[in-house]
Point group: C2
Chain length 702, copies 2
Amino acid sequence: MITKPIRLHGSALAQALLRPRSIALIGASDDPDKTTGRPLRFLRGAGFAGQVYPVNPHRDSVQGERAWASMADLPDVPEHAFILTGTDTVEAVVRECASLGVQVATVLASGFAESGPLGAAREAALGDLVRASGMRLLGPSSLGIVNTANGMLLTANAAFAEPDLPVGRVFVASHSGSMIGALVSRGKARGVGFAGLVSVGGEADLSLGEICAATLDDPGIEGYLLFLESLRHGAALRAFAIEAARRGKPVIAYKLGRSQAAAEMAATHTGALAGEDDVADAFLKDCGIARVGVLDALLESFPLALRVALPPAGMPGPRRVGVVTTTGGGAAMAVDQLGIRNVTIEAPSAPTMERLRAAGVDTGAGRVLDLTLAGTRYEVMKATLEIMLQAPEFDLVLAVVGSSARFNPQLAVRPIIECGNAALAGAKPLAALLVPDAPDALVALTAAGVPCYRTPESCADSIAAMFARRLPAALPPIDAYSGHAASPISEAAAYALLDQLGVPRAASLTIPYAAEPPALPFDYPVAVKVCSAQVPHKTEVGGVILGVADPVSLRAACATLRANLAARAPGVRPEEILIQPMRAGLAEVLIGYRVDAQAGPIIMLAAGGIWAEVAQDRSIRLAPVDLAGAREMIAEVRALQSLTGLRGKVRGDLVALAQALAALSQLALKPEWGVREAEINPLMVMREGQGVLAVDALVLKA
Amino acid sequence: MITKPIRLHGSALAQALLRPRSIALIGASDDPDKTTGRPLRFLRGAGFAGQVYPVNPHRDSVQGERAWASMADLPDVPEHAFILTGTDTVEAVVRECASLGVQVATVLASGFAESGPLGAAREAALGDLVRASGMRLLGPSSLGIVNTANGMLLTANAAFAEPDLPVGRVFVASHSGSMIGALVSRGKARGVGFAGLVSVGGEADLSLGEICAATLDDPGIEGYLLFLESLRHGAALRAFAIEAARRGKPVIAYKLGRSQAAAEMAATHTGALAGEDDVADAFLKDCGIARVGVLDALLESFPLALRVALPPAGMPGPRRVGVVTTTGGGAAMAVDQLGIRNVTIEAPSAPTMERLRAAGVDTGAGRVLDLTLAGTRYEVMKATLEIMLQAPEFDLVLAVVGSSARFNPQLAVRPIIECGNAALAGAKPLAALLVPDAPDALVALTAAGVPCYRTPESCADSIAAMFARRLPAALPPIDAYSGHAASPISEAAAYALLDQLGVPRAASLTIPYAAEPPALPFDYPVAVKVCSAQVPHKTEVGGVILGVADPVSLRAACATLRANLAARAPGVRPEEILIQPMRAGLAEVLIGYRVDAQAGPIIMLAAGGIWAEVAQDRSIRLAPVDLAGAREMIAEVRALQSLTGLRGKVRGDLVALAQALAALSQLALKPEWGVREAEINPLMVMREGQGVLAVDALVLKA
């Protein structure tokens, strides 16, 4: 009798994924060079100590080892099965594994959700099967999973043929199977090793977030590198990231999709819908995940992430870099790249300069401490770094080293290694950029745990990303953001909701749709609008008439409006007409709340008018935000800088705008209201002290 | 008797710089590891066949060779002298060299213009000395000059200790001395060699542009890589670039100063004034110089520059890339980076897909041709590339190769090398991005002349930069743009100038300053302004009164204006008052002409209002521009996209705007007018068909 296994998660899941006592390789090839032959070769080559069962109905032996004809023939139930067979057979094999009590099955085959409707049906079937059985599934379309500590090279990725893989302290999780190989080979060239790597494939069951979360108890894993094609399974990723931050394990991500072309490609490549990149960006930041934009920086940033402390909530983060160099031109490249990423290059203070001169260092002038060729001496660099690392004006010290890094590492690189080690013991972070090709020096710095970079772009990208990292926002836990259909409510109902939230809105009066307008409780001119849940886009059907000047015009406007509706939306029977005084502001903005399918509840602020149309000028946060967060958002919208009193211009009421943003974002704490989307467009921003005012609102409820 | 040498330039200069028959090393050290000992060591190590004379008054021998006590003792006059002595001695040594008839002296010492007033005086003295004598001077602060073809490693840069320097076909010229070393070591790691390299130092005499121009006749030099800290000696650089383009020798530049911090650093580092980066960007583009933004791309772009043909004048350039890959994740990185640089990823057309399928290639769907792991076979990649390279829908084909590039280059890299060679013979360009660390494959591709990249950022940067390259604009020759002081002319005088150029401007009437206003030839309301060359900034002294409604108010306004001036600019005696009808437009823009100290005459278009203040939203070209150029400029200003009829908005008269821009830019053809700067702010843009109108103008004349 077969006992159904418990549905694994956490450490038990990590055990079956990364430290299984036994593994079946279903469909293992006799040819060690074939994709399906590689896992056996790699496991044996790396000396994996667990039981490995090649399963192949067509052969007695595989690569010189005994092969079993079927899973049923095995002497015991393997904890982990790597299914290497073709797409059409996967469902049956998965069913067999589940019925036998295998704990985790990893599926290599592609041809699932990414390949069209038939594949999507196949993937759904897999998902159902797994959920019913309790067995966990990695993939489909997974190139496997690797634990370097125990030689579990359970992968078909050719890159793992690499001899002498360096072992490290970070775990790599990737949407792309080929990228785990690319990272391994690029890492090896730099002496950067990994604790483990996983190609998560189609995430039919186990998502990237859940897999990483399962490994959080592993003391050999001190941080995570994520290669993300798009933002998906956001709830699990967010839960993982928050817990990783709590334990002080940095998470660094490289995410595709900055361009429309790549976003589309992610969609066709994986079958997942790609979201907007700036939503993903806000998500990662609010989850405490550092996002790098340069590929090398994904490989190079972990040592710096360990050293740059996260600022306490609400406090400003690090931003000031002190630069020491033996090569002016090389340092200028780093300075340029840091500058365009808004990192401040701080000049040594007068007391620091004093101490440097007292130590015999020829300081020169300028923001960068250029020791020049003459300063390429061990004693000079050592003394300089020791003084710079104690100077309170820097959050980080960057040493840029010229040709000596290649030929004479004892001159300028050795003191960096010595001071970099000291930096680990509590002082501020020290990082190095090597301007020549100097692979040996990079390996030596990496071995010493000193953050080091081979290009100015990666160096600056990494520093900027680590400086931008924040503790995850205090956010309510969320299970999943399912995309149930949502329907609009009327503008009047939307205003009632804004009133409950405390978002100021224009006065309004609603009258029955067919009624004659009464005397108004506010002044003319007014706006007249159809008010109905059936007409969310009022202007498109002639449902808005502006600038109505007096009672006679108002009656006429109501009649025109009814005529427009009858003509352009003949099936619709609106309930009410809404009358509102016309209001002008200093500026118009759009504020919106939305439950994003991947990122969860988000709050957005965007400039109105041409800004919104011709420039992507908006700020996004996970919701809710407090007033401080709302103020940061306002600072991020370029067009709103014209309301800050710049060049004597009239100031807008940005305090009231921050309050309105924070108030609207509170919808994230009221899931029982069922609001999926709430957009105020426009919100009029008045002069300083005169508030803000919503003059239209569209709310969608589940 | 000593004959004064002719002032060398062109090929004769190149001869003395790069192929001197004899070299003196003045101040050569006996210690081959010392900076001043290196040139002798490097020249001997590289087997330079010319005469080399170590000159050292303190020793009979240097590094085992006979040393001469002074220049006067030498058996003949060396063609080139490398002056390695200290800053204080340089002037005397240079004087001696000049008087002996040395053709070129290269000066290593720093401590000149970059180091303050004393150094600037030293540098000026050097310049005077050299101009009087006719001897040419490289430096000061030059790390030397290298010709790899003849072993002339006349440099103190430690990087040239490198054994087996690869020889190449490009010449490197750098503002930074240390960067020639960095490029040599980075190039060597990739099998990228150079024909020669020069560290131009302070350019007291020979500028980077003049040195490069001198080498244009050298058949061994097929292109140029420039490392620029800032734009300086623009006239010489422009003359060189135009001639290089005429001869089909590509010029590729990496220029610092994108950020304010780096611009400042260039200023302190070299004593030169750093200009605005977007002016430099426009300068480089209009000179036909490709600007890369990623350091690796400087090293990697030359093979692609040889293959991407420049479009004929006025024709659109290449923009469509076809992507073939064995790794979806890897290709997505390249696609993302290309996308954010506005390069189009083109899907294979239906006929191309048809041909691929007929050849047995499993094409999949999507814009990128993802052969997947299964396609990592020689025959598949070869057939695919051959078909893609013939497809008319692509301007370039990019092959992105996964792990096989490291372990099995015969699978996917070999066909790229074969097709890449074929591509040279007239077909379209083929480039390769290797996703794993695959140094051997990179070297093999480089040896075959196939453009190849190790990071997605460099790959995309290089492709975008080569696609953006244009034939140099047809520009009048200019000797230099000296910064003579310029003075404003009155608004009325500026309008007369606009009338001559054909730039439309608002009607205006000027009256004597103290006069009572007459009946006006245009309608009220009007603007009243002080009109005087002495008051260029009218609003600051209350010299502008707007919205004056009738004759009584006009008289009062004139009185107020005179009172304002008397109070706020008591010393000034303005000549006239200018009266102008108030005009409103659909939008306000700023158009400006300026003779930039480095870039020469430029024309600028910027959005008015908050756009100009909070966003850098402007377009710059070298002047003059024709209508096509002016239209391109309009397309580059984001705010003006709101005038193109977007979303049903009213169209602005962009035809008239283009005409006004082109007309203003004609100032570049009228140097005899002496206009240094002409700014129209604002220029009102009316509705389509209604023109544009300058309502203020400030002109500075030399």
